[in-house]
């Protein structure tokens, strides 16, 4: 194309450097997960174990659930719980946030600023502050140790975040789009749904990804509110790989590798939507 050869080489070198920085720790994670326990404690780092073992992965996939010390087997359930909780939370929060964010971005009404700040306060509060009263609230609603309880809790954190992000994203879109639509006879809601939202795909996707991560990663609430594999999520399950004193980093690594799987797949699937975006055509005219 128009770009010089030096430019192309430069950016590809930069890309490789970036890849190395990202991948090295990850590669070490994978290697640790297949290294026998003795290798993990030896004096000199074994870059590749003499006898790699898949025993930890086997334990996670094959052992039966529920009884005994099958921490690994309960991991499978935790994975499912995490996916459900994070997925539903993101779906709800994104929908609600995309709608509400539009109000903050484009509409005038009293208390606009106050209400935005109130929403953000919930997001700004460290979770620690809310644990006990929230525990009590959930206990009274019989929602402890349940996925629904976690979903409700996480929605209250992820939604303000979505509101904030989406409202700023809408602001970056040109305002004449709605004007044009309404001149054409569209209702406000119609303009929002038919014109703005489709154009907001990159913003929606980014918000969704970050929101998913907030729910996926959340540790403290999950730790305190869940007790059985009904609702235990991955961070809790992985934390339980460590005993009072003992821990096998290889098992944690195996858990981490597996836990990273679904988000990566989700992100890959949504690649196409992120690439798209506002074309200059919509602005002209």
């Amino acid at each position: 194309m128009r770009h010089s050869r030096n430019y192309m080489i430069a950016i590809h070198i930069a890309a490789v450097v970036m890849a190395v920085v990202i991948l090295l720790p990850f590669v070490w994670l994978v290697i640790s997960s297949v290294s026998p326990a003795t290798d993990l404690v030896s004096a000199h780092v074994h870059w590749w174990p003499a006898h790699p073992t898949l025993s930890r992965y086997k334990a996670i996939f094959s052992s039966s659930v529920g009884g005994g010390d099958n921490v690994a087997a309960n991991f499978r359930l935790a994975m499912v719980n995490s996916l459900i909780v994070a997925g539903v939370t993101t779906a709800i929060s994104l929908t609600v946030g995309a709608l509400g964010g539009y109000a903050f971005a484009r509409l005038r009404f009293r208390l606009r600023r106050t209400s935005l700040f109130t929403f953000l306060t919930v997001y700004m509060l460290p979770p620690i502050a809310l644990v006990i009263p929230l525990y009590l609230a959930l206990a009274n609603l019989h929602l402890l140790d349940s996925k629904i309880g976690l979903i409700l809790t996480y929605c209250s954190i992820v939604t303000p975040f979505c509101l904030w992000t989406m409202s700023n994203y809408y602001l970056s879109l040109p305002a004449d789009l709605e004007e044009a639509a309404r001149v054409d006879g569209c209702s406000r809601l119609g303009a929002l749904v038919r014109i703005i939202l489709p154009l907001s795909r990159p913003g929606l996707l980014t918000t969704a990804m970050f929101g998913f991560l907030l729910a996926w990663d959340e540790f403290l609430f999950a730790l305190i509110f869940t007790s059985t594999s009904n609702a235990k999520t991955i961070p809790v399950a992985i934390a339980e790989f460590t005993g009072k004193f003992s821990s096998d980093f290889g098992l944690i690594a195996a858990g981490g590798v597996l836990a990273a799987g679904p988000p990566v797949i989700l992100a890959l699937l949504s690649q196409r939507f992120i690439v798209g975006g506002l074309t200059s055509g919509a602005v002209k005219g």
Binding site: S42, Y135, A139, A239
Partner: protein
């Protein structure tokens, strides 16, 4: 090109709201606040009840240490078979979560039985999170249980639970290393001897840092400090309850610790290590001696997880001028004060802590009953450790049993670390800790 008329980030400030708005919002907030205030400025807390001795109870116990999840489930199913009217639900959590979950769940009364660490009876007892069970304790137990066990759930001479998991730290050493450096294991009976041995090991090149400890800024650090404080004859608090660790034995203990680092005898990673790191370093053959809990013996001798399997021996805590008490790291089963079913819960607790049950699972955790240690079946499970345990478990030292122990521990952890990393001299660190502790104790 001037593009400054482009989009603006969402503003958070602007012109103020109208008066009517302020009133409505204020009213709404006021209502919420009023509702929230109930139960803070006044009002009593719910209290527990004895219950009918039947029904469902819920227990919060620990995963992955002492008795395994499988052990506990087996014990529970046998209990339920013998007591069909009582149904037990078990919640297993990691140790770190045990304290926080107990605290969070207290107002909701979720649990009837909770497993508590030896450092919590004062805190939980005074805050009425666990119930005072002194009236339920048969006098015979005080004779039949080991001394260290009886002390575990006590605060202010009241009992707040029943001891269940007994543990202390022992001195583990690598027999092959000692042989190579021509060090006699008998030397390890005193701390002076340990240092001498370490010097010999270092000089002969067997290990670069013969000693490794769990001195990360965590409770583990206080456990080690406690052991040494006891060995040097120090105390945490004097008879009037004021800090005393900044005099005598307490200072000598910290100076011992710091000196061993500067002398190159203690592995510098110790200040970021927990018990598991100690085990790993020892199991990799990179330390010759280490203090650790009972669990390390099995794992260090397991060829699948250790490169020094077969060379591991265990001894009592070395003695210093003040004796050789082991740090009490036990745990007890407690009755939740909010439980509505305390009779049933108490039945469950007495069953779990009974001698036959403990003897059956002695491999996982040493029993609290004196006579078990002469029982051949029990001795057979772990002869090397039991031989030392018999002696050590009768002589344990406690960390201060005060209601804000956690806060004091945090202060001590920070100051001891300051001394260990060289930020402050030992005496000053302990003086500062003592000042802060005095304030905490007074409040």
């Amino acid at each position: 090109m001037n593009l400054s008329e482009t989009t603006q980030p969402l503003e958070l400030v602007g012109t103020g709201p109208t008066r009517r708005v302020v009133l409505t919002v204020g009213g709404g907030l006021g209502l919420a606040t009023f509702l929230a205030a109930c139960g803070v400025g006044g009002g009593s807390g719910a209290s527990g009840g004895a219950g009918s001795g039947k029904g469902a109870i819920r227990a919060l116990v620990m995963k992955q240490a002492g008795y395994s999840e499988e052990d506990i489930r087996k014990m529970t199913s046998t209990f339920q078979a013998a007591n069909p009217d009582i149904k037990v639900t078990l919640d297993f959590v990691a140790y770190e979560a045990l304290h926080d979950k107990t605290v969070a769940a207290a107002p909701a009364g979720t649990y009837d039985v909770v497993l508590i660490d030896v450092i919590w009876p004062a805190e939980f007892g005074t805050k009425k999170i666990v119930a005072d069970v002194s009236s339920k304790w048969p006098a015979s137990w005080k004779e039949q249980m080991l001394g260290g066990a009886v002390a575990t759930p006590q605060y202010n001479s009241q009992f707040y639970g029943v001891p269940w998991i007994l543990d202390t730290k022992y001195l583990f050493f690598n027999t092959a290393h000692l042989a190579k450096a021509k060090v006699d294991a008998a030397q390890l009976d005193t701390w002076d001897g340990v240092l001498k041995a370490a010097r010999a090991l270092k000089a002969s090149g067997v290990t670069k840092y013969p000693l490794v400890w769990s001195w990360q800024q965590a409770e583990a650090l206080i456990c080690d400090y406690t052991t040494l404080l006891g060995a040097f004859g120090g105390t945490f608090l004097d008879e009037s309850g004021k800090p005393a660790f900044q005099h005598g034995g307490g200072v000598q203990a910290l100076e011992f610790m710091h000196q061993s680092i500067t002398d190159g005898l203690t592995n510098p990673t110790s200040t970021q290590s927990l018990e598991e790191d100690v085990r790993r370093v020892f199991s990799a053959g990179q330390a010759s001696m280490a203090m650790n809990w009972t669990y390390m013996f099995g794992m260090a001798n397991d060829p699948k997880q250790s490169q020094v399997a077969g060379d591991v021996a265990v001894l009592q805590t070395p003695s210093g001028p003040g004796g050789r008490p082991g740090v009490n790291g036990s745990m007890a089963l407690a009755l939740s004060a909010q439980s509505q079913n305390q009779d049933a819960a108490w039945k469950y607790i007495t069953y779990l802590t009974s001698q036959p049950v403990q003897a059956k699972f002695a491999l996982s955790s040493l029993p609290v009953w004196k006579s078990s240690y002469d029982d051949p079946a029990v001795v057979k499970t772990n002869p090397a450790v039991i031989e030392q345990a018999k002696k050590q478990l009768a002589d344990l030292i406690l960390r201060p049993q005060v209601k804000n122990y956690n806060a004091i521990s945090l202060v001590l952890q920070a100051e001891i670390q300051n001394a260990l990393v060289g930020k402050k001299p030992a005496q000053q660190a302990l003086n500062d800790a003592a000042d802060k502790t005095a304030t905490l104790l007074g409040s």
